[in-house]
């Protein structure tokens, strides 16, 4: 599903050069649930962004669903992100000026769709995460756990094959965190391929596979 070969990512500013990813080789199969762990600043987010086509590696190749994306331009990358990938972030990144259901609809705005089909899909996604009674609320009226469930609904509304979650429970207490993990496990059981960054060993244990990073390199 996702194949990274010899990935390197260097951040250059005028004063320093940071090697954020160093010789990464990962092959993730369809239906996998992979967790990524490592200390802060070791390159986990960078790795996820490379997989999610939000950031370009300095060298190496990225394959998504068998397609080499190295030569892809903005339009094709955006199309792939829209169709194949759902993102979940530590700080939710909901748009506060839009209601819950309008937030969830966003990915569908970037593909051909009708108003009604968007509404229906958004409602269904919100039902899946148990928030169908909060559709008209605004993000500021929700708890952290609820916000993250909205974000998950937004990530799955377009039926992507891959879900990338960057510390999805990082801002939540353990009870809410476990709720989120259970939703992700359920989605994985229904066929989604999931890659999740986490700091929580017990959560990582519930996934199929663990990748450890240290200073930009894979250590296991």
């Amino acid at each position: 599903m996702i194949k990274l070969t010899n990935i390197e990512k260097v951040y250059r500013t005028s004063t320093i050069e940071t090697l954020a990813l160093n010789n990464i080789n990962i092959d993730i199969k369809k239906g996998d649930f992979v967790s990524i762990m490592g200390p802060s600043g070791c390159g986990k987010s960078t790795l996820l962004n490379v997989m999610g086509l939000l950031d370009e590696p300095s060298s190496g190749s990225v394959e998504i669903g068998g397609q080499q994306v190295g030569k892809y331009r903005d339009k094709e990358l955006a199309h792939l992100r829209n169709q194949k990938i759902g993102f979940i972030f530590q700080s939710f990144h909901l748009i506060n000026d839009l209601s819950v259901i309008d937030n969830v609809e966003i990915p569908l705005l970037y593909r051909p769709s009708t108003n009604k089909s968007r509404r229906d899909a958004a409602r269904e996604a919100l039902e899946k995460v148990g928030l169908s009674n909060r559709m008209k609320h605004f993000p500021t009226q929700l708890s952290g756990g609820q916000k993250q469930r909205v974000a998950i609904a937004r990530a799955i509304v377009g039926n992507p094959e891959i879900i990338l979650a960057d510390e999805p429970t990082g801002n939540l207490d353990s009870a809410m965190g476990n709720e989120i993990l259970n939703i992700l496990l359920q989605l994985n059981a229904e066929g989604s391929t999931i890659i999740m960054v986490t700091h929580d060993e017990s959560m990582a244990k519930k996934t199929h596979r663990l990748i450890r990073l240290f200073d930009g390199s894979q250590v296991s």
Binding site: T46, A78, H93, Y110
Partner: protein
């Protein structure tokens, strides 16, 4: 997507109120200016109807002299018309073409009533100013003996009073005299210049006994110069002692009238340019703030599948929605003008003015938002979403 943008703007309308009010104000002023411009241009496109090159306006003032003014005016006219350099000359009331004086009266025929400009003049007026007769004839010496005073009307009077009927030979009522009889119809006559309306006008044959008509228009031959002008003023002054004689070129008077029509338009234009600059700065401000504050949103949208192009269109589109709000409120006012025929203008003028104003505002909004929106689209999503 449009529905999405409308929601987005509606949900935070409060932070956009100022800009919406600014757009509303510019729209209203622009609507005023465009109405004026459309009105003036619409007038401009119609022919002025008479010649003004090589025509001198000679104004006499009898000052304290009250003895036989009419007789002296007749002599003065004969003197002017007799010069070799003068091709043709005519006498008329003080409201000569491009002058700043007016004279009008109410006229009616059967049940129809209208207001018309009144010019008192003589047999030589049409020839001197090159008027274009479309029906009947200009009055001549023989018409002086007729029972009802002969008049020539213009096309606008005919259309207002008689519609499609042939008015030649018809007798109608005026407020200041009992009956007038129409002998001819001239085409256009815009007495105050190209930018004024082709209003109803009536040329009344003067009787030559009152001495009211103290303006002579003289068409001079090509090449006539200031030497002749000085000689003429000297000789006319000698004939009418204690009178004042004043010669102006009709082409100069025309320029004065044009300034008179154009200055209000220019003042309004300056005001609207000023308001539009305000709108443009408001737009820049909001967009720059938006882009700084909404980096996160830009990042998420890109992650969820937005292309650079769709981010750019979103930001331009949001400004369009804001402009549409302001314009919509403005339209509620603007449409009253054609609906209620305010200022008695053709509704088409207002409709054209509305369309022009809407177009200009959207054009400015697009121009102002294009560059900042492109900057927004260039933001790297990974950077925008970066969290420590």
């Amino acid at each position: 997507m449009i529905r999405h943008l409308i929601k987005l703007i509606w949900n935070k309308k409060r932070s956009h109120t100022l800009l919406i009010v600014e757009i509303l104000a510019s729209f209203l002023v622009l609507f005023g200016v465009m109405s004026l411009v459309t009105y003036n241009m619409g007038n401009y496109l119609k022919p002025i109807g008479f010649e003004y090159e090589k025509i001198w306006t000679i104004n006499f003032s009898s000052n304290q002299d009250t003895t036989d003014v009419a007789g002296k005016m007749n002599l003065l006219y004969r003197k002017v018309a007799g010069y070799n350099e003068v091709e043709s000359a005519t006498r008329m009331s003080g409201n000569s073409p491009f002058s700043f004086s007016n004279s009008n009266t109410g006229i009616s025929y059967k049940k129809t009533h209208t207001m018309s400009d009144i010019y008192n003049t003589d047999e030589h007026f049409a020839k001197t100013l090159g008027l274009n007769l479309i029906q009947g004839k200009w009055y001549g010496r023989e018409d002086r003996v007729a029972k009802n005073t002969p008049v020539v009307i213009n096309r606008a009077t005919r259309d207002a009073l008689f519609g499609t009927e042939n008015p030649v030979g018809k007798v109608f009522d005026s407020e200041n005299e009992d009956k007038w009889r129409i002998v001819g119809v001239v085409d256009y006559f815009k007495g105050k210049g190209e930018y004024t309306a082709d209003k109803p006008a009536i040329f009344v044959l003067m009787d030559g006994k009152s001495g009211w008509e103290k303006t002579i228009l003289a068409k001079v031959k090509p090449g006539t110069d200031a030497n002749f002008e000085a000689k003429m003023i000297r000789e006319l002054g000698a004939m009418a002692k204690d009178w004042t004689v004043e010669v102006t070129y009709m082409s100069d008077q025309r320029v004065n009238q044009h300034n008179f029509s154009l200055v209000p338009m220019i003042i309004f234009l300056i005001i609207s340019v000023f308001l539009l600059i305000n709108v443009a700065m408001g737009l820049f401000g909001i967009l720059n703030l938006n882009i700084a504050r909404r980096r996160e949103e830009i990042g998420v949208r890109r992650a969820l599948g937005a292309t650079e192009g769709s981010i750019k269109s979103q930001f331009v589109g949001e400004m369009w929605v804001i402009a549409a709000f302001g314009i919509f409120i403005g339209l509620l006012f603007a449409v009253q003008f054609p609906i209620m025929s305010i200022f008695d203008l053709d509704p088409v003028i207002y409709i054209i003015a509305i369309l022009l104003s809407v177009f200009i505002i959207f054009l400015i909004v697009t121009l102002c938002s294009y560059y900042p929106s492109r900057q927004a689209a260039k933001i790297q999503p990974a950077m925008a979403l970066h969290e420590e």
